[in-house]
């Protein structure tokens, strides 16, 4: 990963690719790389769809190695949804392949004139950028079906669906899984619209003829990786819960804890929760001959994903994730897993964020467009997004725009990005992370549910205010650092509970790069990333006033606990004081 690929899509005479040494960005990976480039090179006040914005795609520090769990990819830009800096993280094969191709980052710059649509193909022989207008208007599954036979077996695809071509604010960049399905997405913040604005439909990455990246100290690396995998397998969450039930195991937990946002964040418990729980989903998938235990990329030992099949045993979609089942399920009053899986497929196919889309539909339901619980109506609305009807474009612009269009006050967003499946009133720490993350409301940025509800990595009373800012700070720092490594965030449960597993990750980094980092260095890396991101946002015009939840969370108490969001502004503002 010693090279940086820049493609100026707006160069006179057509797109121009330049390969340079990483230079000043040496030693960075994943989110550290994307946020460093965006904060340094992108004009913070630019329009996200204008030529001044850049789309940065970076594998993590350990991607492309034999290290387990190292296949997460960071995609960065100025977000068209939030106006903030964005790092959207995806699984799938792309990160491993891009790292083996030797690239620490791809930077798409500028904007071409005209309507031509481009395909970028990168393999060991070089970078090829070509016009391919035959790809116009293809949804992700159709696109990959058309392309996959043309490239080697090891090819990984990053693509935009119809939503990205329309530059919708909810649009994603899809990454193919090991079976070449476009099921893993850089979902949040409208990264697909930025790729679409640069007229790039698909990036084909093919590492045929290339090997795994070599560690500086292979023996130490192998040993550290062995201890790392042991630690993940030993921990009940990464070793048992996630493989067996997937992320959707959280339905029952959040519902029982009264923090499952239902009917667009009106109440904290959903009567139909048992019908869409992880337990029910895993049983259904197994009974039908699907697969509830699947890895989104090669080298994953947790295997939290799965394959959802219909009554006839045929593929419907990937096993919908917890947040997807929530956004289209309880949040919309829908308790039908088959219907939710159909919507999951449509979301992936059009290339739209399952969280933002479900929350936008919930807001539309509140605005009277269709009633809560209307599953067929929800499918119709999602199809309208794919078709680009006026209604579809409103919904495809996310929850905030939808709320404005339909006169709804209860719109659960921060900095224009929707919250997900954790009500901040029943898990107050989560509210602090939603409010303060440089990404807008993002549960992954500082997953306080761990200590608030799951009682992993600490125990902080979910319903109290004490300790929430400290919890959010520490988790945001740790998460930023993990996002730089290319590691899946689900290693964090074992890292938080087992010091020896945390040490094994540091040992992997040290053995690979010949470093002697300590835990303190990891924390310093996390702080450095957050500081760059906050600095970009400040220069883009964001202040403490933007680090707040919507007013209704402070005013409306949530059943069953009947409390509003209570953490003081002063506490919230202390998160980045370290």
């Amino acid at each position: 990963m010693e090279k940086l690929l820049r493609i100026d899509m707006g160069a006179p005479g057509g797109p121009k690719a330049t390969v340079n040494p990483v230079g000043d960005y040496a030693g960075l990976g994943g989110r550290a790389m994307t946020s460093a480039i965006v904060s340094r090179e992108v004009l913070p006040t630019c329009h996200p769809l204008g030529p001044e914005n850049k789309l940065v795609i970076a594998p993590g520090l350990l991607s492309g190695t034999s290290g387990s769990m190292s296949g997460r990819l960071s995609v960065g830009c100025k977000s068209p949804l939030t106006g903030t800096i964005k790092e959207s993280n995806s699984g799938g094969q792309a990160s491993q392949v891009l790292a083996r191709l030797g690239f620490a980052a791809i930077v798409l710059e500028g904007r071409p004139q005209g309507d031509d649509l481009y395909k970028i193909h990168i393999d060991k022989d070089g970078v090829h950028v070509a016009v391919d207008n035959s790809l116009k208007g293809l949804p992700n599954y159709d696109l990959i079906d058309k392309l996959k036979g043309q490239y080697g077996d090891r090819a990984a695809f990053m693509s935009i669906g119809t939503a990205g071509e329309m530059k919708l604010l909810t649009s994603t960049i899809a990454c193919t899984d090991p079976e070449k399905r476009p099921t893993r997405h850089a979902g949040r913040g409208g990264t697909g619209a930025v790729m679409g604005s640069k007229r790039v439909k698909v990036i084909v990455l093919d590492d045929t003829g290339l090997k795994m990246r070599d560690p500086k100290d292979p023996e130490k690396f192998r040993d550290a990786n062995r201890r790392f995998v042991e630690g993940l397998r030993k921990h009940p969450i990464s070793g048992q819960g996630l493989p067996a039930y997937g992320t959707n195991v959280l339905v029952n937990v959040m519902n029982e804890a009264g923090g499952y946002p239902t009917y667009n964040f009106k109440v904290g418990q959903f009567k139909g929760a048992a019908n869409i729980s992880g337990e029910t989903q895993a049983e259904l998938i197994t009974k039908r001959g699907g697969n509830p235990t699947h890895g989104c990329h090669r080298g994953c030992v947790i295997q939290c994903s799965g394959i959802f099949v219909g009554k006839d045993g045929k593929y419907v979609s990937k096993q919908p994730e917890y947040e997807t089942v929530w956004s289209h399920g309880g949040n919309c009053g829908i308790d039908d897993l088959d219907l939710i899986a159909q919507i999951d497929f449509l979301d992936d196919n059009f290339g739209i964020d399952t969280i933002e889309t479900g929350v936008a539909i919930g807001v539309a339901m509140e605005g009277g467009v269709i009633p809560f619980g209307d599953g067929e109506g929800a499918i119709r609305l999602v199809k309208e997004i794919g078709q680009g009807t006026p209604m579809g474009r409103i919904l495809g612009s996310g929850a905030e725009v939808t709320g404005k269009a339909f006169g709804v006050e209860r719109v659960p967003v921060v900095k224009g990005q929707s919250m997900s499946a954790y009500d901040p009133r029943a898990a107050q720490g989560m509210g602090v992370s939603y409010a303060t993350s440089p990404m807008g409301a993002d549960h992954t940025a500082g997953f306080c549910i761990a200590a608030n509800v799951l009682k992993v990595g600490g125990d902080v009373n979910a319903l109290g205010t004490e300790g929430q800012a400290d919890l959010s700070r520490n988790l945001q720092i740790a998460t930023a650092a993990v996002d730089a490594t290319g590691m899946c965030l689900f290693i964090a449960f074992a890292l938080l509970d087992q010091p020896e597993t945390f040490q094994s990750l540091i040992d992997m980094l040290n053995a690979f790069y010949g470093l002697s980092m300590t835990g303190d260095d990891v924390a310093a890396l996390g702080k450095k990333i957050l500081t760059m991101e906050r600095d970009f946002n400040k220069r883009a015009g964001f202040t403490a006033a933007h680090d707040r939840l919507p007013r209704f969370f402070y005013r409306e108490a949530l059943a069953p606990h009947n409390i509003p969001f209570k953490v003081s502004d002063e506490d919230v503002d202390s998160v980045f004081k370290w």
Binding site: H235, T247, L250, E256, A257, G258, G278, E279, L454, A462
Partner: protein, 108 residues
Amino acid sequence: MSSSGDKGAGIPGSGDSRPPDRALDRSGGEGRATVQITIKLFATFRAGRFDVETRRMEPGATVAKAIEELRIPRRELGIVLVNSVHASPEKVLKDGDTLALFPLVGGG
């Protein structure tokens, strides 16, 4: 002990299908009022046990007592909620309480 036929320590009155109204403990023969608890189990805890069951327990029975009777090893216990609020093993269960038990689970 449970509707699935596990031979655990018996709980008076459990496993029958009477409606969950307040009832008298008939097994002890002393006519003392017992407390009625709804127990919900999740994820791996359901295997060989049950999903949801109402049971009667002696007054003063704690969360720990309920867990012991279910033969759930303490080290496997992740989340304990009584009426949707996290609870310690020492918490005394009251009539009408709902006890929800999860192994350590995570996602997100």
